[in-house]
C-alpha cells in the first residue's frame, strides 16, 4: 500500500497493523524518517508532491522491489505539507520470508524515496527558507543498486 498525505501518523501503529496476522512471513523490516531540529537550524520542513503522479511513481518502484526481493508485502507512507521536528516524514515496511530480503528491500525503497521520488522539500529556518536537493550521499546510496548484479 502507498499513501501520500498531509495527515500526521504514528509509525508504531502502522507496524502493529502491518505485522499482525502474518504466520508465513518471518521477517518484517521498517524504516522511519523523522524531521530533525538540527539544533535549531531547521524549524519546519515543507514537502510537496504531485498528487497522483507521486503515488504512481512510488508504485512503480514498489512493484520493482516486490519482484527483485521476493517480498510478500510492503507499505510506504509519506507525509507532505508542513512538518515539525520530531514528526514522522516517511515510513516504509517490508515483509518477506527471510530477513535479508526484508532488510534489502526496505533499504532500496528508502534510497529511491530519498533521491528519485517526486517530492520537493523546503526547509524553513531562522535564516529563511531554502529548497533542498538530495545530498551527495543519497546519490551514492541509490547508485549502489544500479551497479549490483541481480540477486
Amino acid at each position: 500500500m502507498i499513501i501520500v498525505s498531509e495527515a500526521p501518523f504514528d509509525p508504531g501503529a502502522l507496524l502493529s497493523e502491518f505485522s499482525s496476522g502474518r504466520t508465513e512471513v518471518g521477517a518484517v523490516a521498517t524504516f522511519t524518517g523523522i524531521a530533525r531540529a538540527e539544533c535549531g537550524e531547521a524549524s519546519i520542513l515543507e514537502l510537496e508532491a504531485y498528487p497522483g503522479f507521486t503515488e504512481a511513481e512510488i508504485g512503480r518502484i514498489a512493484e520493482d522491489a516486490r519482484r527483485r526481493f521476493e517480498l510478500d508485502d510492503l507499505l510506504v507512507r509519506h507525509r507532505i505539507g508542513r512538518i515539525a521536528p520530531g514528526e514522522t516524514i516517511v515510513f516504509v515496511a517490508t515483509a518477506a520470508k527471510h530477513r535479508r530480503a526484508a532488510f534489502e528491500a526496505c533499504d532500496y525503497l528508502m534510497d529511491y524515496l530519498k533521491s528519485r521520488a517526486p517530492f520537493w522539500k523546503k526547509e524553513h529556518g531562522p535564516a529563511g527558507a531554502r529548497w533542498v536537493e538530495p545530498r551527495a550521499a543519497d546519490h551514492a546510496d541509490i547508485a549502489r543498486w544500479d551497479k549490483e548484479t541481480s540477486r
Binding site: 510537496e48 504531485y50 530519498k114 520537493w120 522539500k121 529548497w131 538530495p134
Partner: protein, 80 residues
C-alpha cells in the same frame, strides 16, 4: 490551452502553482510563451535537471499539446 503545473523552486520563482496557458501547441511553444512573460522563469524551465511530465508521464524532447493536456515542470526531486 493546456493546464500547466509548477513544483518546488519553480513555483516560488513564478509566483504561481497552476495556470491555464493559451496559444501553445507544443511543449517548446509553451516554454517560449512562459519565457516571454518572465525571462527568469523561461530560463529555469529549460535548466538541466528539470523534467517535463505530460499527463503525468515523463516525456523527453518536444511534444504537441492541446486543450485537455496537463503539463508539469519538475525540478530535481528530493524525497523524505
Amino acid at each position: 490551452m493546456a493546464k500547466v503545473l509548477l513544483f518546488g523552486p519553480l513555483r516560488d520563482l513564478a509566483g504561481w502553482r497552476e495556470r491555464d496557458v493559451e496559444d501553445a501547441t507544443s511543449i517548446s511553444g509553451l516554454r517560449a510563451r512562459l519565457a516571454e512573460e518572465d525571462e527568469r522563469l523561461g530560463e529555469a524551465l529549460s535548466a538541466p535537471g528539470v523534467q517535463v511530465a505530460l499527463d503525468q508521464a515523463i516525456v523527453r524532447g518536444d511534444r504537441p499539446i492541446g486543450v485537455h493536456n496537463e503539463v508539469a515542470f519538475l525540478p530535481p526531486m528530493s524525497g523524505g
